[in-house]
Amino acid sequence: MSASRPLPRWADIVLLPAINLFMAFLVSGLVVLMIGENPLEAITVIIYGAFGYGDGFGYTLYYATNFIFTGLAVAVAAHAGLFNIGGDGQAYVAGLGAIVVALALDQTHWLIAMPLAVLAAGAVGGFWAFVPGWLQAKRGSHVVITTIMFNFIAAALMVYMVNRVLKPATTMAPESETIDIGGRVPQLRQFFSFFGYSPVNLSIVIAVLALIGVYILVWHTKFGYAMRVLGKNPTASRYAGISNSRMIMITMTISGALAGMVAINEVMGVQNRLVLDYVAGAGFVGIAVALMGRNHPVGIALAALLFGALYQGGQELQFVIPAVTREMIVVIQALVILFTGAMEGLFRPALERSFMLFTPEQKAEAIAVSSAKTEG
């Protein structure tokens, strides 16, 4: 037991997650079996639906775009030791920034509207996270509670704004006016017909830039260094002359601004208007994405893609196998989180043991240990 060695790196980051993912699908397969459908067919449909054709892949990417933003939001805060549960609310209110700019500038050109909307959405989302950050830094209020509370407050605020302020008198549905073409983010399909009618849009470029930006920020800037010191050891960061309170406020603001980018994708890229509850829980998926991606941009990109694929593949499943309900999709997603996130250690010991038998010197050690055990 004592002599088990850490797994080789590739096994740790590729093999183990693959086994866990396989387990998740195996258990999901049982659920599919329960309703009398063929699990193999189901998985084929999911994979085909998510990656097999342009439209489907486009949808996968569109969902992944949201999850990258919310995942990064959680991750950035996590590096500074802060648990931002408020990504949902931050993304939601950021819609105000996006819609105001988009509607104001929709007679110009997206090259003007989009950058300004990014700033506006970032500012509003950032502000919505800054306040909990400020309360934590100055008043010691636990950021976990305040961000949860701010999710609820955001929901109330947005309903008010949409219904009483943004909704034109002529529309029935609670939604803002529609953005004209000049205020919309171009769709990828305008450049690659491959993507069919899917809503994936240039926001994904922002997402990729955000991934790279966060990587540089966290590991290649002095600010990121300070952030990580704070996250790992707040006493040491004070010792190092880092202003913990300022770091908390700035980090939360960055985190909120990242979450706010969901508004660009949704409001300006897909819906072309502000609708109620357009975030649709992406903020919470972001928590799972960040945790599964180990708070690293590469991991987040992969996890976001996985969840995007599950969302889109799940939708495909509903089309192809009508017996599959949307709740089953949620169950499959939950199982993926459970096996690849929470129970990732399930197969580690077994894997470690089998790896020990691979190289001769480790083999000798393994034998020595097991014989020692029998002696003792």
């Binding site: 037991m1 004592s2 659920v31 329960m34 309703i35 648990f83 309360l135 008043r139 010691g140 209020s141 636990h142 976990v144 509670i145 305040t146 949860i148 509370m149 701010f150 609820f152 407050i153 109330a156 605020l157 309903v159 008010y160 009483r164 919470f284 928590i287 799972a288 945790l291 599964m292 309900t325 709740e327 089953m328 999709i329 949620v330 169950v331 499959i332 997603q333 939950a334 199982l335 989180i337 459970l338 996130g341 929470a342 129970m343 990732e344 250690g345 399930l346």
Partner: protein, 322 residues
Amino acid sequence: MDFAIMLSVLDATLRLSTPLLLACLAGLYSERAGVFDIGLEGKMLFAAFGAAAVAAVTGSMWLGLLAGISVSVTTALLQGVAAISLKGNQLIAGVAINMLAAGLTTFLGQTWFHQGGRTPPLGEGGRFPQITLPFADELAGVPIIGPIYAELISGHYILVYIAFLAVPITAFVLYRTRFGLRLRAVGENPKAVDTAGISVVALRYQAVLITGVLCGFAGAYFSIAQGSGFGNNMTAGKGFIALAALIFAKWKPVPAMFTCLLFGFLDALQIRLQNFELPVIGVVPVQAIQALPYVLTVVLLAGFIGKAVGPKAGGVPYTKER
């Protein structure tokens, strides 16, 4: 506000704070043992479903309650395996449980009852009645005390009384028993517990089991007391509010009760303030009133509570070197 309305608000406060209180105490046990639990919501939802499903089929509220508790305990065990034995991330375990509950309850409900995930409405016997305490009717006429006893104290579901009874019991267990001493210790310094020759893992499992039982009560309250039957996602985020209450109360049972009462009160008040007209401003937007409990929580937290420092070893799986 006149006396009758006040009674009505306080009466609703008790009803609304009960599930919060049960969930909050549930969370208290595992978090005091060093296991963070954001899966309260999921366990309650599972329990609500299990309770309603069994109560609907058997027509017995007691079997329903038992089922709710068993389902919740099983879920707690699954979470325990992930968070304690497999040393997985406790937060992810909670997130996974919540999602699993959201999906699986509706899915199973639909598969079994074909009512869109709902369970059939419960008849007599399947749902907890409101208990009239002795002499409630006789005393009702007595001024002040009468109505307070008859309307506020009497006439609740038995689970309400259980919830409030659980507070002194929890306080007693935590501060006056061997188990409580060890529980508090393992959340602060598991290594100290280990070197004292007590199994950290066993203790944490026990704590998580109690969490499961209490979440079972809370879930059952939703579906077979307050409601009559299970509805999709009927816990509606109460698990998170309970968690906030737990932090607010600094992980202590009696403050937890007062916090839950406060949250319940704000909720009850919110419901009655929807058309409230302020002198100058006029009718307050309903959204503002609905946001009130949350805003107030933030304000109170910032103004009065200050830093909440949880059990030191919370969130960290215990690894024993061998």
